[in-house]
């Protein structure tokens, strides 16, 4: 099973993430999003960030989690590589993200993501895995 694949949508960009459980799904959605910004291979884990996110449903939590990561990228230039999820309920997530400061020379810019959106947002439990679709505002 792939961790994620990209969804084609006119004007914007999306990620379909897969996971064996909800935690794995959230982690892979974040990895998919980072892959839109730059080549994940070019990112080195140098410093860590504690992230907390809250939402009123698993879907809302997923958007809020990804928007938290977008905030840290857009405001401080932090791009993540390794993610450890410490706590995950339907409405709360706590994680450590390890990565580094974005450097356009080394990282080569892909897309500048403005936000994770609720557009066509879904989380689905399949027989043996979970799937999530998130569309990003570009």
């Amino acid at each position: 099973m792939n961790r994620y694949e990209l969804i084609d949508i006119s004007g914007d960009a999306g990620v379909r993430a897969f996971g064996k459980d909800l935690g794995d799904l959230f982690l892979n959605a974040a990895a998919g999003m980072y892959s839109l910004i730059t080549d994940p291979e070019s990112v080195t884990p140098r410093k860590s960030l504690e992230i907390k996110a809250a939402g009123e449903s698993p879907e809302g939590l997923l958007v809020s989690w990804l928007n938290e990561l977008i905030f840290h990228f857009d405001a401080y230039g932090f791009i993540g590589k390794e993610i450890r999820i410490h706590e995950l309920h339907d409405t709360l997530l706590r994680a450590t993200v390890t990565g580094e400061d974005f450097d356009s020379e080394r990282h080569g810019g892909g897309l500048l993501i403005k936000a994770a959106t609720y557009h066509k947002l879904k989380i689905e439990r399949r027989e043996d895995h979970w799937e999530a679709d998130v569309i990003f505002d570009i």
Binding site: L6, D8, I9, S10, G11, D12, A13, I37, T38, E56, E59, G60, S64, N67, F71, F73, D74, A75, Y76, G77, F102, D103, S104, H107, G108, G109, G110, L111, L112, K114, A115, T117, Y118, H119, K120, L121, D137, I138
Partner: protein, 369 residues
């Protein structure tokens, strides 16, 4: 001028921060950012970015009333702190163009446009600041939609009744974002003027560098419109649409009261852009609005796949257009074929009478994020 385009594009690329992860030359402390959010392009002019004469050529004088910085989250302040005076990425651009065809000689004269003239077009907005305002308020609106029992077709369309506290708060915050965007374009225009003077060893007066117009294409405004013969106050949300007010409209500055509002419609980086004027028919049929661009025919990924193995940069140079881009993928995503032909789109709004063609601008040099 032509041989100097390459130098000019290089200078503009170096002077105007663009692309993923780029930081601006302006750092805003909290008090300064609050002032900017209230005063918009006026803040920029007061801080030496541009001239007083620019202000009347900006929609709403570059400063929309009712912006309330106390409604802005700490996160939005943080994202806005270093992004003032940056171009961004995606379809944002700065283009050096020339007027290649005039459709309405009188109107072109009134706007100061003539054939063969060089123009600059800047497309950018409120950057990360505005996106954070949107992200923050989507959560508020999601709760509000269920509170006011509004059934949503798509969760992204979350909304609240205009007179609710949630909607009024959003409006106060959105107006801060509009002011951030007007200030941003004003700063970038200022540095563009400086780059032109530096490259052409001339003064702005001698170069005739005056602003034609600055107009938003993603904003909600409270306006007077006639509906079924009755004058009403409406909230007009132009998303992917541009205001196109007719001659005589009280919101137009004196200089454009007799011509109608200048409308700027950019095309893709390889074809053309257009200057039009607003019309009475737009008031009657489209709440004083017209289209804002070409629109895509290919998704970003389709475009990237189609461009594989090609050098878009070289293809553009072969057409006489110098392109400089920060991101590797940007040029592929933004290539001409990814968009509808702007000339067809503009012909539609012209024939529909909701704005009228004045001039066509052809690109010479392009800076992309």
């Amino acid at each position: 001028m032509l041989p100097r385009i390459k130098d000019l594009v290089e200078v503009l690329y170096n002077e105007i921060p663009a692309g993923v992860g780029s930081k601006g030359k302006i750092r805003l402390g909290p008090d300064e950012e609050r002032r900017l959010l209230t005063k918009g392009a006026r803040w920029a002019v007061e801080n030496g970015f541009g001239e007083e004469a620019d202000i009347e050529r900006i929609e709403s004088g570059g400063m929309i009333e009712g912006a309330d910085p106390s409604l802005i989250s700490a996160k939005a302040y943080e994202r806005g702190r270093a992004q003032q005076g940056t171009l961004g990425s995606g379809n944002h651009f700065l283009e050096i163009q020339y007027v290649d065809e005039i459709y309405d000689e009188g109107a072109a004269n009134s706007l100061g446009l003539f054939e063969g003239q060089m123009t600059v077009m800047i497309h950018t907005g409120s950057r990360g600041f505005g996106h954070q305002v949107c992200t923050d308020f989507l959560e508020v609106m999601e709760r509000a939609a269920s509170k006011y029992r509004i059934e949503l077709y798509d969760r992204e369309l979350a909304c609240a009744p205009f007179n609710s506290p949630e909607a009024q708060d959003y409006l106060g915050a959105m107006r801060c974002a509009a002011n951030y965007a007007w200030a941003n374009r004003q700063c970038i225009m200022h540095w563009t003027r400086e780059a032109l003077m530096k490259t052409l060893h001339s003064s702005p007066g001698a170069l005739g560098l005056s602003l034609i117009y600055d107009v938003a294409h993603n904003i909600a405004k409270v306006e007077d419109h006639v509906v079924g013969g009755i004058r009403k106050k409406l909230v007009v949300h132009r998303k992917g649409a541009t205001r196109a007010f007719p001659p005589g409209h009280p919101e137009l500055p004196v200089i454009y009261r007799h011509t109608g509002q200048p409308v700027l419609i950019p095309g893709d980086m390889g074809r053309a852009s257009f200057v039009l004027l607003g019309t009475e028919k737009a008031m009657q049929e489209t709440f004083g609005s017209t289209c804002h661009g070409a629109g895509r025919v290919m998704s970003r990924h389709q475009a990237i796949r189609k461009a594989k193995g090609r050098s878009i940069w070289r293809e553009m140079q072969d057409k006489g257009i110098i392109v400089r881009s920060a991101g590797r993928g940007t040029l592929a995503e933004e290539m001409s074929e990814a968009y509808k032909d702007i000339s067809d789109v503009v012909d539609v709004v012209h024939k529909a009478g909701i704005s009228k063609k004045v001039a066509r601008l052809r690109p010479l040099g392009v800076v992309k994020g």
